[in-house]
């Protein structure tokens, strides 16, 4: 695991998140993010609650296409999938041009560019909380994820890293499972 320079972290335990109104996301999509936040709050004493106003929320989630004003334009299908900022910025941007699979088994998708939304959400929330990238391939914070792949369970590496920043959730029993369900290793054909 790694941290951003200076190890920035949130100084409060109850965080709120909200969605960009213009995206008009369905409850089904919002539930994916809720599930992703839950995976982190299971192991650390932080809570995440959905708020109505993106301006008032700690974390703002939005889907954007191409140049969206932060100097880091998205590049269409595949390539860069999402990016987010270190605490206490709370900006969480996803590439709106991706083919996001919200529910169902992404591994069985007939679309070779299908990307599992929850997998990317769990990774980006790691950044929002202060984690950088990891060289441990099984970890959530490993920088790449292939299309038609689901990887949502925090690995020991992720848990150890995030607990350095925030400590352990008193109710966390210390067990973790690493689950990588991969259909293919990306458009690379590897």
């Amino acid at each position: 695991y790694s941290f951003f320079t200076g190890m920035p972290r949130w100084r409060k335990q109850a965080l709120t998140y909200a969605f960009l109104p213009g995206n008009q996301l369905t409850d089904e999509v919002k539930t994916v993010f809720s599930r992703a936040f839950d995976r982190w709050s299971t192991v650390i004493p932080l809570t995440f609650t959905q708020a109505d106003s993106i301006n008032a929320a700690d974390i703002g989630i939005g889907f954007y296409s191409g140049d969206h004003g932060d100097g880091e334009p998205f590049d269409g299908v595949l390539g860069t999938l999402a990016h987010s900022f270190s605490p206490p910025s709370g900006q969480f941007h996803l590439d709106g041009d991706e083919n996001w699979v919200v529910t169902g088994d992404v591994r069985t998708s007939s679309l070779t560019t299908a990307v599992d939304l929850e997998s990317v959400a769990v990774h980006e929330i790691g950044h929002l909380l202060g984690l950088g990238h990891s060289s441990v391939e099984e970890s959530i914070m490993y920088p790449t994820i292939s299309s038609r792949t689901k990887k949502v369970e925090l690995a020991d590496d992720d848990i150890q890293g995030i607990q350095v920043l925030y400590g352990s959730n008193p109710n966390y029993n210390g067990s973790s499972t690493t689950s990588v369900q991969e259909k293919e290793t990306g458009s690379s054909g590897a």
Binding site: L81, H83, V101, L111, P143, G186
Partner: protein
Amino acid sequence: HFFHSNVSIPEDLLKNATSNPWSFFHQLSGCHAGEKYDGLAKLKSYFQYFGYIPNSLSNFTDDFDDSLESALRTYQQNFNLNITGQLDDQTVNHIVRPRCGNPDIVNGSSSMNSGKTHNTSSSHVHTVSH
């Protein structure tokens, strides 16, 4: 575009499913240091974007120069690939994978493998004969 697994994917998307902004890099597999190949400048930009080439460098050429070889070695180390400094198939196949847009190295600093104090590079294993 949001989908429920494979039940609601339009036919036109299935037909255009091969697009990937980095698939071009497949053509660079096998390029060697000291040579010049069309497209290497684009690969250098990729590496700079993710922190492997300093922002102080610009106006990239298509030369397979020391900066690219160094970036490749660091990238290979961070991703647990064979550290060859070359554009071998294994490395190129990894480069084209979809990924998070956050850089792996910021201001030359990384806590991925390349930033660790120990060196796991097989190219740095020293042996002594007896």
